[in-house]
Symmetry: C2
Subunit: 338 residues, 2 copies
């Protein structure tokens, strides 16, 4: 094993050319004779010379590093999302010879992100989980650091990448209506997430489009753990056909309560989730839900960010697709299938 690392200068001397020529052979920039070029490339390959990324970075005031914020106050339910998203970012970054540097952020502490930016350790940042009050976005904007936000944000002028939750919820609701379901209850969390609004919109639009009265779509928000029982009680009394859960974390609780109440899904009541986080993967019955490809989301976010860094123009909002998974939990007993 070679221990001592070789520099561009060593290559130049060994081949009796100048550093410039070697640099050109590697980068492809600037004209250079095909012959010398081949010769240099061959030598580099032979002696496995690898350019020093730090020096390169210093010279071009670039780091070829990307930052990604990861929330510390996650729940088990949204953990897979961040993990997959991170993987997607890493995927694409690697393909462009960028590396990814994680920084923990909580709702009111962005000190790690500040360090990262102030130390100029990254060329840009991917923000995951957008809150209505978005400290990181504000900070990066002030510092004029390129960044893209995964998840829609209310802030103006932010490059956003997200799945099309609104259309997805519209689609799922419409299909359920098509199966003969008429009365819904949508159970939301009390969080400050922007995405909740989009999902509600999709749901409401589907009802409207189908000509169903508003009263057929009960919406319960602010359902903390304590009053979920009361909410469900009201839901069950309301002759609801199908409970829609804003995401799996709610769905888990709902299923748990229904089981205790001795209710069968889908025989007594149907259930579906607006966000499949894979925690319910093995649930019996299988749960109808919306599937989003978080890894792809990460890839697109990363791609967009790198374009942004390179000064290319990027769409201010990219919406990715979704998949509607019709499963057991919404099957009608007559054997009607999707």
């Amino acid at each position: 094993m070679e221990n001592k690392r070789i520099t561009i200068d060593d290559v130049a001397v060994a081949l009796s050319v100048s550093k410039t020529t070697v640099s050109r052979a590697i980068s492809g920039k600037g004209r250079i004779g095909a012959a010398t070029r081949e010769r240099i490339l061959a030598y580099i390959e032979e002696h496995d010379y690898v350019p020093n990324a730090i020096a390169k970075g210093l010279a071009q005031s670039r780091t070829y590093n990307l930052g990604i914020t990861v929330p510390v106050d996650f729940t088990l339910v949204d953990l897979p999302f961040f993990q997959k998203c991170l993987m997607g970012v890493c995927d694409y970054a690697a393909s462009e010879d960028y590396d990814v540097l994680v920084t923990l952020t909580s709702i009111d502490d962005i000190s790690q992100l500040e360090r990262l930016v102030n130390n100029r350790k990254v060329d840009g940042v991917v923000l995951t989980r957008t809150l209505t009050k978005d400290l990181p976005a504000q900070f990066l904007m002030d510092k004029k650091v390129p960044f893209v936000s995964v998840g829609l944000s209310k802030m103006q002028g932010i490059i956003q990448v997200d799945n099309d939750h609104e259309t997805a919820c519209f689609d799922l609701t419409t299909r359920l209506i098509g199966m003969g379901i008429k009365r819904f209850a949508l159970i939301c969390d009390s969080g400050a997430y922007v995405v909740t609004r989009s999902r509600c919109n999709g749901f409401e639009n589907a009802l409207k489009e189908a000509g169903l009265p508003e009263s057929n779509g009960l919406i319960f928000d602010d359902t903390t753990d304590e009053n979920l029982d009361r909410v469900l009680e009201r839901v069950l009394k309301s002759d609801v056909d199908c409970i829609l859960c804003m995401d799996d974390s709610i769905c888990v609780k709902v299923l748990d309560r229904l089981r205790k109440a001795g209710l069968e899904v889908p025989a007594d009541i149907k259930v579906a989730s607006f966000y499949n986080s894979s925690v319910l993967e093995r649930n019996i019955p299988s749960i109808t839900s919306l599937d989003f490809d978080a890894r792809e989301l990460g890839r697109v976010a990363c791609k967009t960010l790198i374009q942004l860094i390179n000064g290319e123009t990027v769409p201010s909002r990219s919406l990715l697709g979704y998949r509607v998974s019709m499963k057991e939990s919404t099957k009608t007993i007559l054997g009607k299938e999707e």
Copy 2:
């Protein structure tokens, strides 16, 4: 907002001192007059000058970056572990002004790690999840890059940090025996993890120490999804008092099967898990288990790595503690409590 970044030279010129002096005031290295030192520090504070980490890195051939490998082929059950571990690493790294750079590794693909190291993007690496066949460790060893391994490894000469699984399992088993439980079944996975061996050892030693015959501790390994049913059938016929699960991923399946078989925990049979991954957090009944602090593990791993990078001598093996959580799932019906 200041837009243009200020350099050490600007500070030097503004204060009519040399760059060297400014550098000394910041680093604390080398003797310097208290007066000038204060003056420089004040100026820096005032004009919020931040040293360029890249240039600093180039000068000292250091990056102040750490790498951490994250496996791509994770399951939902061990996801929280990696996440918490990552957080611990980030915690400590930030406190030492290091940043953390993630790299995906699968069992047979370490190309991202290779890029990272070849490009000299990191000063050292934290390895998570040690397999019996450890490609990353071998690679880093050859490249002479400092690294520590989270989780015990069979390889010689590796700096390891882990929880003391063996003692923990010994402890839990012993306490269960103390509660009057005599016959155990330990259900393992068929994975190639080194940790499985440690846990089995702790379990077996506890039986031995208690003077129980070997036949009281049935061990089933290679329990793939398909034959788990058969295994459980045999277990139930064997008059076992308590099923011990190697980790929560197995425990989830076992609980599921027991429920279907109409068996009550702990009335009909007791259950405990050798690794609480928080997926069973809300399970009813609550599950007796071993708790490990993955975040602390990450912190210690990171601390050890930085010491290693700084040329300090570090213990070749650090074993961290654990917590035994006695819960409902092993309660005796008579109301005997732990």
